[in-house]
Amino acid sequence: MGFPHSHDLEVGTILSRHFGDASARRLETWVGMGGYEGLKKAVGMEAPEITAVVKDSGLRGRGGAGFPTGLKWSFMPQEPNGPHYLCCNADESEPGAFKDREILRWVPHLLIEGCLIAARAIRAQHVYVYVRGEYFPYTKILNDAVVEAYEAGYIGSDILGSGWDCELTVHIGAGAYIAGEETGLMSSLVGGRAEPRVKPPFPAQSGVFGRPTTVNNVETLAAVPMILTEGADWYRQWGTEKSPGTKLWCCSGHLERPGTYELPLGVPLKDIIYDVCGGVRAGRKLKAVIPGGSSTALLTADELDCPSTYEGLQEAGSSLGTASPIVMDENTNMVAVIRRTAEFYAHESCGQCVQCREGTAWVAKILHRIETGGGRLKDIDILYDLCEQLTGRTICVLADSVVFPLRSSLDKFRADYEALINGGAR
């Protein structure tokens, strides 16, 4: 348990440098490691300057969508006429993703510092860190760090004697994947059902408590302090033009060495799987990888020679998502995996949009029937048809999320489906 094995690729350990070192959780140690330098710099800067640095760094949102962070911040009103809010999205719940918890768990002060710098950049007076309810042990670590930071004057009134005030509150959810969706998180934070809502209005116009709001992922915010201290160009030494910097890869499934690894963006996906993670366990062959968390299209063993960038994975027919490869070996029952994934989305659908509410559950029912020997070839056509109907027609993208793994498994592993249909249950 704990932070896994080290790896032998050359990496810029921005986020993970202190993973595994419990002493880094304590403020005193953390400051000794150079913590809060970014914040010290930020309090002497004006909001647009901070945003400009982050814009120049090319940092992209690490929550899955990859939206440029600096650009997102620039959408916030420049002339505030009331409170602004920053929400840190720590509702990590995408199957395959467990990167944010490592940040909460090992370097909570890095996240706090990132939150405060971002808050200054968007002129927010209050930061809400929304942590998924299940992460009790890691929330406790974050809580302790927050209290320490308050007591040391890094959060609260007159931060570091700058005259700038900013509060930070840790807020926990209670079991709802959809609270990780930007507008769902906002609905939940203000005391409601975590139901996404239509945009516009966009959060930067009207977010939590009806005020301009920015929602950023944990990993995104944790990358900010060093970008500020070391500069945009320093950050750009890693990665590619479109995908600069480093990224946490949380690798799971049938791997020799699953775990979270920080790597520069652009390392070939196959190297992450075969070198960093030691390849498929027990000497088996690789069947497929869901590269970016369960809501991304799966890739076959032949498709892994692609750069691990936003654009590289898109070109390969999938997406980087949360950079959470789930690896399946040759013995994997593909239909069962997709069925279990569909069940997840059916369980987590908020139930507003008809397609998602009814469609995700229907997909799971059909897959379950195929898996247990009641399938018909016609079901494959129905599943393809449902892929069409679940794409791009709902308020949020939860319904789309089930389509990517489903459609790609139908395309690439149709034989698995047909074998179950023709041969009955295994």
């Binding site: 395959g96 009790f136 509150t169 926990i172 209670a174 709802a176």
Partner: protein, 189 residues
């Protein structure tokens, strides 16, 4: 038990207290004692709208009683100027809020995609067998309740199992007995 001294909680983290515990401190009225009032006031102080303290207060009810009773929903609604119906609407949206009394140890076995690949279904079965229960059912001694969980966010350490506020990782059917043995009925947050 409810008058026992609790450590003072910083307002910034009052909305993020563990609420799934084996040791409960049942109370009829949540906000009639100093602790309850303190939690309520601190939580409200962190948001521009009272309503935002709803999730923290639902969590507090569960922390004390192990579940959120209709009476607790009414009391919370009263404290936050929300109708009991609204409180129920929110409480039933979130799966971690128990709307019924539960066993002391809520054993949530992640059977989602990554854990599924690594044999989580067998781990789940092993827990059911070891506790002699069916899914979601309280054991006769009221100690255990075993449920399937959606992704617990520990995919690299399959199979992940959450018992109340604790995580157990790399659980196999063989290690189920060890997990159960490690559970202490008096464990605290």
């Amino acid at each position: 038990m409810s008058d026992e001294k609790r450590p003072d909680i910083h307002p910034a983290v009052v909305s993020a207290q563990p609420f799934q515990l084996a040791s409960r401190r049942p109370v009829d009225r949540l906000f009639d004692d100093d602790e309850g009032r303190d939690r309520l006031e601190k939580a409200i102080s962190r948001y521009p709208e009272k309503k935002a303290a709803l999730l923290p207060m639902l969590a507090y009810a569960q922390e004390r009683n192990g579940w959120i009773s209709p009476e607790a929903m009414e009391e919370i609604g009263g404290a936050l100027e929300l109708t009991p119906a609204y409180v129920r609407s929110v409480a039933t949206f979130y799966t971690m809020y128990n709307k019924h009394p539960t066993g002391r140890h809520i054993i949530q076995v992640c059977t989602c995609t990554a854990c599924h690949l690594c044999g989580a279904d067998d781990v789940f079965e092993a827990f059911l067998e070891a506790t002699g229960t069916r899914p979601g059912e309280m054991s006769d001694d009221e100690r255990f309740m075993v449920m399937e969980a959606e992704c617990l966010g520990a995919c690299g350490f399959a199979t992940a199992v959450q018992v109340n506020n604790r995580y157990f990782e790399n659980v196999t059917p063989e290690s189920v007995a060890d997990v159960l043995a490690a559970l202490d009925d008096d464990e605290e947050a």
